[in-house]
Symmetry: none
Subunit: 259 residues, 2 copies
DNA sequence: ATCCGGCAAATGTACGGACATTTTTTCCTG
DNA sequence: CAGGAAAAAATGTCCGTACATTTGCCGGAT
């Protein structure tokens, strides 16, 4: 879905002041870049901790912290005595979304940045209405953009349909890179009580592929969320489109009592 | 994945040596227990690193590693100068999941019928190991088939990797079309405490497409579930592959208390 | 050629120290 | 009493050391 370019726009967003990250994060980013560039193909060994320490003039502690970040991102796996091996390509695989609750939705959005491309009121045609499961012809504040991770890589497309009762939230968006529904909660005193989530596999549209730096036509994971108040009113619908096989939507389900 | 037709099958047991976990893991477990027991309610501060070091007679390094585990588990959040605060009890999150997840897995399997095509012991090559996130070379009881709905239409491919400790369950499968893990629970007295679920979009392989009556190469939703006991032992891994855009994986998330 | 044992290499755990940064508390002044 | 500054408290980063555990390689024996 492409939200039509809005006729009127609010002020452009301004990037926050960025300070130098800690050394271990910089080392991790450098190694990640080299992994993604193919310098260390899947299956190959990274340099040892000792060698990396010499290369980056860093202590073993700092190198280990960097490697821990890479492990958490799913790029490498370390084995005692055997070294650290590159286990999977693609940085998006590390953008694992641990969605377990509404609070977790907030956490994911806080760890990524929404880069807004278009904001404007839209009326849903038949296709769009079917896709977002909202009434055909109804009008919503449309917001579309790309969600990016820490190092600026595109994680997914993010498209929003916000109920017009809350359209003034548009004024806050240029200065806000995080999740939108808490803004609505703050600004209007509404409370999201329930999120309905639907996940499916779709072909990646050419327009989406271009802005995500991925190949068009491949498989993409589409995650749609419908945010409702306790009274059942739809406040917002969000569709995140993650390209390719690199992204996995993960959930951990637990039993707490005897079955 | 195509499981080779089984020639012979026996249960093989490989008892794993169980050793004491590292100290930092034990400290984390103890603190988690106290958090879940309500000793530190949501919003309250844990003891400082220094205090925990005194309490557990551990170095700050060890305490910090323990706190890192708790942070990664989403139980606490640390802020420089302010301490470590309990932000979300895992048990309550788990309660949310219980409402809709493992029971939902059973419901889905009950509403469809597993048509088994192949059963046999398989050793995981590198590709398979990566796909199911189990050790390469490890051996599992492989079961593969198609899950069909009421009218017999193919819903998805269903592939299982069952720990060889439970391989005798194979004897029950010919007369059993429903979910497999409750069979294991009944037959062996094991209890599934946790299911880790990963959903991604993949291209539909030609072999899978043929048995599902779908076009090869299109987008498919791959849902992988790893079933674990409370001790963390992997009992079973399941991959369901749903063709095309027809299938949507739906979840409803609710807030149980005020934000 | 194969197998086994020993040793070196490589990561994992855990101790210690120091300084930086942020938050909270305390103290002082108007 | 209120506000601001300074000090103390608390976590974050980064250095170092030592030992434990596991893996891989090499050489010798069969």
């Amino acid at each position: 879905m492409r939200v039509p370019r809005a006729v009127s726009r609010t002020a452009e967003s301004q990037p926050a002041a960025v300070e130098a990250p800690p050394r271990y994060r910089r080392i991790a980013a450098q190694l990640k870049e080299e992994i993604l560039a193919g310098l260390y193909p899947v299956g190959s060994l990274l340099p040892t901790e000792a060698a990396l320490g010499r290369r980056f003039a860093a202590s073993r502690h700092t190198v280990r912290e960097a490697l821990r970040l890479l492990r958490e991102e799913g790029l490498v796996a370390s084995r005692r005595g055997a070294g650290t091996r590159v286990v999977s390509p693609g940085e998006e695989e590390g953008a694992v979304q641990q969605v377990m609750s509404i609070n977790d939705l907030l956490a994911f959005a806080r760890e990524s940045r929404l880069e807004i491309e278009a904001v404007g009121v839209v009326a849903l045609d038949a296709d769009a209405a079917r896709r977002v499961e909202l009434p055909e012809g109804s009008r919503w504040l449309g917001v579309s953009g790309v969600r990016r991770g820490r190092e600026g890589a595109a994680l997914c497309r993010a498209d929003y349909w916000i109920h017009l009762d809350y359209a003034a939230v548009a004024r806050l968006l240029p200065r806000h890179a995080g999740p939108i529904f808490p803004l609505i909660e703050d600004l209007y005193g509404e409370r999201i009580a329930e999120v309905e989530q639907a996940i499916r596999a779709v072909p990646l549209a050419a327009a989406d592929a271009a802005s995500l730096g991925a190949a068009a036509g491949g498989a993409a994971l589409e995650v749609r969320r419908t945010y409702r108040t306790a009274a059942g009113k739809v406040v917002q619908v969000t569709i995140n489109t993650h390209p390719g096989e690199r992204f996995a939507h993960r959930t951990t389900l637990r039993r707490l009592r005897p079955a």
